[in-house]
Symmetry: C2
Amino acid sequence: MSEVLQKAKLAKAASIQMNRVSTADKNEALLRMADHLITSQLSIIQANQLDLDNGRKNGTSSSLLDRLALNEKRVAEIAEGLRQIAQLTDPVGTLLQTIDRPNGIRIEQLRVPLGVIGMIYEARPNVTVDAAGLCLKTGNAVVLRGGSAALHTNKRIVEVLHEALESSALPKDAVQLIEDADRKSVDEMLKLNGWLDVVIPRGGASLIQNVVQNATVPVIETGAGICHTYIDQGANPEMATAIALNAKVQRPSVCNAMETLLIHQDYDQAAVTELLKAFHDAQVELRGCERTLQLAPYAKQATEQDYATEYNDYILNIRFVSNLDEALAHISRYGTKHSECIVTERSSEAERFLQEVDAAAVYHNASTRFTDGFEFGFGAEIGISTQKLHARGPMGLVPLTSTKYRVTGQGQIRS
Amino acid sequence: MSEVLQKAKLAKAASIQMNRVSTADKNEALLRMADHLITSQLSIIQANQLDLDNGRKNGTSSSLLDRLALNEKRVAEIAEGLRQIAQLTDPVGTLLQTIDRPNGIRIEQLRVPLGVIGMIYEARPNVTVDAAGLCLKTGNAVVLRGGSAALHTNKRIVEVLHEALESSALPKDAVQLIEDADRKSVDEMLKLNGWLDVVIPRGGASLIQNVVQNATVPVIETGAGICHTYIDQGANPEMATAIALNAKVQRPSVCNAMETLLIHQDYDQAAVTELLKAFHDAQVELRGCERTLQLAPYAKQATEQDYATEYNDYILNIRFVSNLDEALAHISRYGTKHSECIVTERSSEAERFLQEVDAAAVYHNASTRFTDGFEFGFGAEIGISTQKLHARGPMGLVPLTSTKYRVTGQGQIRS
């Protein structure tokens, strides 16, 4: 039996036990896991050093090494994340509705765990702990398949979590780590219907597309964000400048950062010139339409391909549009249904934008950077769903649950 | 461009218009559709006659011909179904939650249409109208791909629906019928990411498995039901007999019918013998364990394969178990997470069964036949979801919607 199938079976068996554990036991286990991460931090950081050394040898980019690297401060943050999850309200068991039918049967709809969740992600050790914590809190078992560049770190982390679980009321098999670094282990997970109830990919576009294209297990698609900000005619220049700059430069590498700025052709010309200059000063490479090139000689011509690209970098497309319809058409064509913003003082334009743009989050006069489980007040985030089924937008604990109907009768039969 | 892609694009364009129409306009259109089906019934029944003639020539089974056949009464029932959908509460636009964040942004979560729904089903013309009605009511466009044996009927029905929509406020392109009878048109639909937001298969196991195995578009899996009834020691014999018989013979062809009866070894022996006899008298072929064969000489030996089969027919497996754990293990192994029932007078056993069985609907002292959108009081049913994502159990209107976050601010940016 392959490692993947073997561990999925262990996870499935553990998920049946997880279905019975109390909220108090789950929280207790999460706190133990946090404590044990801290007391074991030296060994974790040592294992991480092996991964970092390998990464440097293999020429891994500094930004990837940065996401991989652990130190005492980061381990403490990760442990603190578990403590925060312990404090969140447990959604499992919530009674969603009670239906009393004329024939006397009572139908109750309750939140239940999903079962076994497969997580496929890149070389980010914090996701290992985060995902384990969120899945356990919601009564699930989890099969983790992180990027192979973090394998030493992940193995040590999962050992530590197992040690903590062994002194808790939760089955340690509820957390499984796939150690097979071959891509085939991912492919196998994607077809594990009957053992995995859902697969959640977290990472770049190619990782996510591989999952979406090949999974027969249900998927919650996360991630890709080609987000737009549209500055309307008459928008408050100070507000528009602040929101546009924030959406791009506060953290360009994330999915809710802006990739294209759309500007109404009649928006304050002085403000536009200043805004373009501000992007330039912030080291943002500008790619624009004809009008942009006239206003900003340092800008390049934007291509069709540019508008369809998620840069996650200090690059921004600029396009002038003649009205809201043109902005909506652009967003409909190039957007990825993630986060879209209008800056306007006109309530009719705001209302149309909020109503007609098809995206997980639509904004009026606020930065798209707020699309985030913590910023939304969920206290956690397993990812940002860009699909329309099951969960849309930032996902906290609830999307890690399903529902179940409990029907009680006194001998009713159907006639 | 293929027929499928062309029609999916028309549906997508129509879905943007559908997002703007009012509930009143949608209800008005549904009533027009109902009226127009009635006034056009002669031409529909004539088209249906062509399909029936072809079916008879091709040796189609009488049960399939029965599901395909339309007459005045059935057309009237189908039209009445649309009128009932018009009366249901529109879930679109419902405000699910409002979150006011400390930084002053307000986050509202609203129900929105899914967009474009692909329906893949068998030669049942009532599904054509039902699916169109439910999708339009929830503000969606729909691409219909019914079984080719009903093509003449479906073409005429969709013509009639289009005629009705042309005199309504809804875009007629919101209902599309794929006429290409080649299986390839189904395969193409399953890969139409970006044009279809979800595919819902309705039909037998092979149709559903083809969709689950090959779709890259998100799927809501419906259907397959290997449902169990477990009669506990000390169960009320009268109730147990009534529930078990009802679950099997009231309509054996449907997914919520029982396929295996589990009986506690210490349950009233006289009642068991009488129950087995009652199944035999009702023409139900029994396949059982050793103990069953001793009690019912007319029973055959059940095989491993029998326990894993959805008969949808007058065949039933019988197995005696020594306790609840054995019943739970059997259900966990062979069940399809659809509907499972315990008949017992012991509340501790009932509670464990309801808690531990992993299924869309779990029953205590009522027939599994109640798992149905109408019986649950939803007033409609697009299918019964057997997956855990998005929707589980009978699906009314709500599972045909998604959600969207509307965020309004006064210039907030992330720091």
